[in-house]
């Protein structure tokens, strides 16, 4: 509609049930619309977004032959796409639509002033009509989609998403920072006795309620899936690798991954362990939180997958100049490779799933709890390693100071969680449950142990969890005491611990003795989360996890199209929830790249290269990396990649030569709106 005299505009006013109709006089508004110049037809409807409303709109368009549409209804965020699709179905270009927001901006905010709200609605409508006259048909930009997928993080969420996508036939690159897959879940090998037959099983605890789903051994659960994944023809597992650079846009991401040297040829190693037996070095095993020692060539955990040894060059004698090659000599396949170097891998993918998970909070800063000061104060992660049958203590819970089985154990809840001094004060959601699980596991292994849990509020929600809590108290006799401990002290002679706390339900201060104190630490964003978020241009929520696009309606999507988030990278959650989210993310990716070609909404900015002086300011200011430089003749000119542009308008403002315009918000369109609102009232 380049010439204004051609304009034939249809106006549709939605009452949104009572949402708009209760405040705004919609009939009056419609009459007003029909009095405006170039308005061919005007219609009111109770629910324009309903099937009936949309059909009514299509019929009216084909009856009157209008060329542009103004819909006075709710925010464009809600139904812009609905109406665009609808007018396209009626034969009008999808960009010949304007939405006047008379619900949020009139009916809701001015509910107590119906008359003036209606006047404002008229203003907005008049502006829309004026703007609609300037519309020109536009074509949506199309993007070819690469059908490979990158999954960042090889924890339970990452492997589930990768497995589902691989099964759907997509090529998946799975990047994991650690040498083994499985993430935090794989290190939490809490095997209850009913999972593993152990001689001398205590008889005095009856299993009268049978096994409970949350007590499943995580090792037994995750390992089969890991084995399936690692041998899957569609999966390329990159362990000891980190994403260093991400460029491009939806459907066409370019990713640079750096793979650290393992010093063992993954193709040759069969995981026999001869090398580790031969290695003369012995150092503290950081994967067991210092509870056991390891060699310089080692497996982080016995069940670690891929079962490929690695050399820790910092502790290897070769790094100190010695000519030791005992591991190479003992290896039947000559797998150790001392000249292994850092490798750079460049990937091209269509979509990215962020599944970087969480890290257990390190309570070193909370001095009053005595962590790292007193040996018998441990975190839950150390306890999980102890409870692992194949772990450093073969499943026995011991005091680190003397390796004796404790008689009295205390759990302190909310260490790092619900604390506004160290974070936003969020609840880590899973600690109440993992404490119950571990308390039960300890009672199974050592029925004579007394367990006390210090808590503030107990959050045992979810299917079957309340019953699980009851069982912890009733069948296992775990005592719950309400109060946040004030201080943990140590008895120097016995290295026992004294917890001073108020029992808030009794209103009394207590000082009680324990042999072992377990801190139920919170889930925090893993190290490097900020760098990764910056690299991917993702927003972080105040707690440091990745911010989803919409907390309720778009929990998997992020602010960047083509990048999805699942598992604890989005916020603390338990295993079933992580798996559900991971599968949802896999499905979202499949829906996206399954299309092969993507239509981008044409709300983007464009450069008038005649005016562009090539200063590059737009490239600096664009938060999405959509502005790029290109050679036109001898000069550098800017260009906006339409698929990447989100239409935020930052470059439009930044451009000193006014060479950039936003479609639907050109100067001409904005000025026509301004003229309309000033015209009359």
């Amino acid at each position: 509609m380049t010439e204004e005299q051609e304009a034939k505009i249809g106006v549709f006013v939605c009452r949104c049930g009572a949402n708009i109709g209760r405040v705004i006089d919609c009939e009056n508004l419609r009459e007003y619309a029909s009095s405006l110049k170039d308005v061919e037809t005007s219609v009111t409807h109770d629910y324009l977004c309903s099937d009936d409303g949309l059909r009514c709109m299509r019929e009216e368009i084909s009856r009157t032959g209008v060329r542009a549409i103004v819909v006075a209804a709710c925010t464009p965020r809600l139904h812009e796409k609905t109406f665009r699709d609808n007018i396209e179905a009626a034969g009008i270009n999808r960009y010949m639509l304007h939405l006047a927001n008379i619900r949020e901006q009139c009916a809701w905010v001015h509910a107590d002033e119906p008359y003036r709200a209606t006047q404002k609605a008229k203003d907005l409508l008049r502006m829309g009509v004026m703007k609609a006259k300037t519309f020109t048909p536009a074509e949506a930009a199309t993007v070819q989609l690469n059908r490979d997928v990158l999954v960042i993080g090889g924890g339970v969420a990452g492997i589930e998403a990768a497995y589902d996508l691989a099964e759907l036939g997509y090529k998946v690159h799975l990047v994991e920072r650690k040498p083994v897959l499985g993430g935090n879940m794989a290190t939490s090998f809490t095997c209850l006795l009913w999972c593993h037959e152990v001689p001398g099983k205590p008889q005095n605890i009856s299993f009268r309620k049978g096994t409970f789903p949350t007590c499943d051994c995580s090792g037994c659960t995750i390992t089969p899936r890991l084995v399936e994944l690692i041998d899957h023809p569609n999966v390329n597992v990159l362990t000891m690798s980190e994403v260093k650079e991400v460029g491009g846009y939806v459907g066409n991401f370019k990713v640079r991954v750096v793979k650290k040297p393992r010093y063992v040829d993954e193709g040759k190693c069969v995981g026999c362990g001869n090398c580790s037996t031969a290695c003369p070095v012995s150092v503290n095993n950081e994967y067991d939180y210092g509870l056991a020692d390891r060699k310089a060539i080692f497996l982080p955990y016995q069940q670690g997958i891929p079962r490929k040894y690695l050399v820790d060059m910092d502790s290897c004698l070769r790094s100190k100049g010695a000519e030791c090659s005992l591991c190479l000599d003992s290896c039947p396949f000559e797998a150790p490779n001392y000249s292994d170097r850092e490798k750079e891998i460049n990937l091209e993918v269509g979509a990215i799933i962020v599944a970087t998970g969480f890290e257990a909070y390190k309570p070193h800063v909370m001095g009053y709890l005595g962590y790292k000061e007193f040996p018998n104060v441990v975190t839950i992660m150390e306890l999980e390693r102890m409870l692992d049958k194949a772990g450093p203590t073969s499943g026995a819970v011991v005091r680190p100071s003397d390796r004796k089985v404790p008689k009295r154990i205390a759990f302190i809840q909310c260490v790092g969680s619900r604390n506004r001094r160290i974070s936003e004060g969020y609840c880590s959601k899973v600690c109440c449950m993992y404490t119950m699980k571990n308390a039960q596991a300890i009672k199974e292994a050592h029925p004579e142990v007394d367990i006390t849990v210090y808590y503030i509020d107990l959050r045992a929600v979810g299917k079957g969890v309340e019953e699980f809590y009851h069982r912890t108290r009733e069948d296992y006799g775990v005592e719950y005491t309400r109060g946040r401990p004030a201080k943990v002290l140590e008895d120097k002679a016995t290295q026992n611990l004294i917890i001073r706390a108020e029992e808030t339900l009794l209103n009394k201060i207590t000082e009680r003795n324990f042999d072992l104190v377990v801190l139920s630490v919170s889930l925090v964003p893993p190290e490097g989360m900020k760098e990764l978020a910056d690299m991917l241009r993702l927003r972080q929520s105040p707690d440091g996890f990745i911010q989803e696009a919409h907390t309720r309606m778009k929990p998997i999507e992020t602010s960047i199209e083509g990048i999805y988030v699942c598992g604890c990278a989005q916020g603390p959650k338990d295993v079933p929830e992580s798996i559900a989210q991971a599968r949802a993310a896999a499905l979202e990716v499949a829906i996206l790249i399954g299309k092969k070609v993507l239509k981008a909404e044409s709300l983007n900015a464009f450069v008038d290269q005649e005016k562009c002086i090539g200063c590059g300011l737009c490239q600096e200011t664009c938060p999405y990396g959509a502005a790029v430089s290109e050679k036109v003749g001898q000069e550098n000119k800017s260009r906006i990649i339409e698929a990447l542009c989100r239409g935020c308008g930052t470059c439009v403002v930044a451009c000193p030569s006014r060479a950039i315009m936003s479609r639907q918000f050109t100067d001409r369109q904005l000025m026509s709106e301004v003229r309309a609102v000033l015209e009359m009232n």
């Binding site: 009053y368 909310c414 619900r418 604390n419 506004r420 001094r421 004060g425 503030i456 509020d457 309400r482 109060g483 946040r484 401990p485 004030a486 201080k487 001073r500 706390a501 108020e502 029992e503 808030t504 209103n507 201060i509």
Partner: protein
């Protein structure tokens, strides 16, 4: 809030004195009380989770039935009369503030409550005596009797201050008390 002691006979035949407490009624809950506390710098009591950490670190919590956590709870419920009429102590050491995971400052709440008590029920006698000492002598404790004796034994001068500076300082203190109406609020005499 009427409670009287009644003689009761328990099962087992033991005689005990027991409390006869009345339930707390809506009428006792003053919703405006929290606003008053915020006005006087006590902070938002609603952030308290009642975790009991403050009570655990409090050096005087074992000296009082009404611990700092209970005081906060009463303020959350708006039990103004109860909180102002029950005995509580605070050393204002700010340990509760150091440890509070909710970022609240219970010590400042106590200070705000003291403001309210003084304005509405008048200052306790020891506060009046202390304030009068500050107005008269420039210090809260009067040097007399036993103190002078001990000072003499230790061969210290009879007065622990230099009169030349002290008189000027006392005058300044009195001016501050006068201009801020502190003397009227506490009910002390600045004229002598």
């Amino acid at each position: 809030m009427s409670s009287s002691k009644v003689e009761k006979v328990f099962i087992g035949g033991q005689r005990e004195r027991v409390l006869e407490e009345a339930p707390i009624l809506d009428i006792e809950c003053d919703r405006e009380f929290m606003k008053k506390i915020i006005e006087l710098g006590g902070g938002d009591v609603q952030v308290c989770l009642q975790c009991g950490n403050c009570t655990g670190v409090c050096p005087v919590s074992m000296k009082t039935e009404n611990k700092v956590r209970n005081i906060i709870k009463m303020c959350q419920m708006g039990l103004k009369n109860k909180v102002l009429s029950t005995p509580w102590v605070c050393a204002t050491c700010y340990r509760c503030f150091e440890h509070c995971p909710s970022g609240m400052n219970p010590a400042e709440l106590i200070v705000a409550l003291r403001h309210i008590v003084v304005r509405e029920l008048g200052p306790p006698p020891f506060v009046v005596a202390t304030a009068q000492n500050v107005a008269n002598l420039g210090q809260s404790v009067e040097v007399s009797g036993k103190i002078i004796e001990i000072r003499r034994e230790m061969e210290l001068p009879a007065e622990p201050f230099d009169r030349r500076y002290r008189d000027k300082a006392v005058m300044d203190i009195r001016i501050i008390m006068k201009t801020t109406s502190f003397d009227k609020l506490i009910g002390i005499n600045l004229e002598d």
